[in-house]
């Protein structure tokens, strides 16, 4: 098998497990919606504030959902010593990284679609420039999945991984929160030109951490 085939094998396995366990559909997605609802309760009755801060709230909800998805992606490897099975498989570290990050990205897309509907309905937000909105979302999703997978394997073998992962991950993804929120703000306001620099920043972040992840995931897996 080549790199892509190996990555698809790992991603298929992770997505099949998620489909069976329904953790994404019954826990992560409802969690994201609950976060949006709580923001709505907290900032009501001034709906003008809600629509202005909607991009930031959306991406904070996505970040929190990312933490759950990443934690879950590595919890399934910790059960029954499956991580040893992955190490013994001889699968390429880059393929493992791409597979696990890819599966996380698919789950994040599902979360983002649901939350987009949520901000439109709950926060009364109209989606303006679709192209920068979609590209910013794709780049941010790839970046979040890549950096999340990288820090997920870093904390995978630790007893304190559930509490350590957010502490490690959230500061690193601050540029994604900033860039994606600004790009969404500009796109929603119909100022697509202002969105592109942020889309570019998100793209650089995604490429950078995908590259780093492919290089170091294998060695990190050995130490986890």
């Amino acid at each position: 098998m080549n790199l892509i085939q190996e990555a698809l094998l790992v991603a298929g396995k992770d997505l099949r497990i998620e489909a069976r366990s329904r953790v994404t559909t019954q826990q992560v997605l409802p969690f994201g919606l609950i976060v949006l609802l709580l923001f709505a309760f907290a900032l009501d009755p001034d709906r003008g504030v809600l629509s202005r801060v909607a991009p930031g709230l959306f991406w904070v909800a996505v970040l929190l959902g990312t933490l759950l998805s990443i934690g879950r992606a590595f919890a399934i490897e910790a059960e029954n010593g499956a991580l040893d099975g992955l190490r013994l498989s001889g699968l390429d570290g880059s393929a493992l990284f791409l597979g696990k990050a890819g599966a996380v990205a698919v789950q994040l897309v599902a979360l983002e679609v649901l939350l987009t509907a949520g901000v439109v309905v709950l926060f009364n937000v109209g989606l303006g420039g679709i192209a920068p909105l979609v590209l910013a979302t794709i780049a941010a999703t790839v970046g979040l999945a890549a950096v999340g997978t990288l820090y997920g394997v870093l904390s995978a073998g630790l007893r304190v991984r559930e509490t350590l992962l957010p502490v490690l991950l959230l500061p690193v993804v601050a540029p994604v929160l900033l860039g994606a929120s600004r790009a969404w703000e500009a796109a929603i306001d119909g100022a697509s030109g202002d969105a592109w620099p942020w889309v570019a920043l998100l793209g650089i972040f995604a490429v950078l951490f995908t590259g780093i992840g492919m290089l170091v995931f294998g060695p990190l897996l050995e130490e986890s």
């Binding site: 010593g81 040893d84 013994l88």
Partner: protein
């Protein structure tokens, strides 16, 4: 012939504790070597060292021609380890777990023959989480065999198995010479396993005894393949049986 395993003064640390403190071990092609010794003697660490899952801190080691000191990943596709856990996924079925492990190891053959061999075919569609402890153990063996290893490492292989499972496992072990497998297994069930092993190595406080046999004392695997069980015994400090 080059041994499948060759360790000299091998040292492995668990934290700062030397779990293996200078082990010498030779294992030849198609041998079934029993590791015995008390709790904490280093049996599990030795198996994990041979699988490339723990680093060699001192000494030299080769498994299937790969130097453990410089590359402990190169031989992993050729090695299967059945440890205390199944290394399977709760939400995948028996069939899916075996299929994934095989494909991840580059084996495209369907898993049905291995499932049949271990009596798991009726459970093929059952998720791992719904299996009993003994059935999970059998699944772990199925996963290990489906990867078509050259070296099979077993840690307490009979633990948790019912009579049918034990018989299936014994059949696998007694057919190693024909199947081209070399087996190193750690067990406390010495009476049962000595009858299946060609040689016994005793581990005490991270050191091995009887681990490097005299050339003449190792049974010819081809001859062993044609013999009925129990096999010819070896050698080392303590003969099995």
């Amino acid at each position: 012939m080059q041994p499948v395993v060759r360790l000299r003064s091998a040292v492995c640390l668990l934290g700062r504790f030397p779990a293996l403190a200078g082990v010498d071990l030779d294992v030849r092609d198609r041998e079934v070597v029993l590791l015995s010794g008390g709790n904490g003697a280093g049996k599990t660490t030795l198996l994990r060292l041979l699988a490339g899952l723990v680093p060699l801190r001192a000494g030299t080691g080769e498994v299937l021609g790969h130097d453990l000191a410089t590359d402990r990943r190169g031989h992993r596709r050729l090695v299967s380890l059945v440890g205390h856990e199944t290394a399977c996924y709760d939400d995948l079925t028996v069939h899916e777990n075996v299929r994934f492990a095989a494909r991840a190891s580059g084996v495209d053959a369907p898993p049905e023959p291995v499932l049949e061999q271990l009596g798991l075919q009726p459970l093929a569609a059952v998720p791992h989480r719904r299996l009993s402890a003994g059935q999970r153990r059998r699944l772990a063996f199925a996963v290990a065999l489906a990867r078509r290893p050259r070296l099979l490492l077993l840690d307490e292989p009979h633990a948790g198995l019912d009579a049918e499972g034990r018989a299936a496992l014994d059949q696998v072990l007694s057919g190693t010479a024909q199947s081209g497998l070399t087996v190193v297994l750690a067990s406390h069930e010495l009476d049962r396993v000595r009858g299946l092993a060609s040689r016994e190595v005793v581990l005490t406080a991270g050191q091995a005894h009887g681990s490097v046999p005299e050339p003449a004392s190792v049974p010819d695997p081809e001859a062993a393949a044609t013999d009925s069980r129990p096999p010819a015994r070896a050698t080392g400090e303590r003969s099995s049986g």
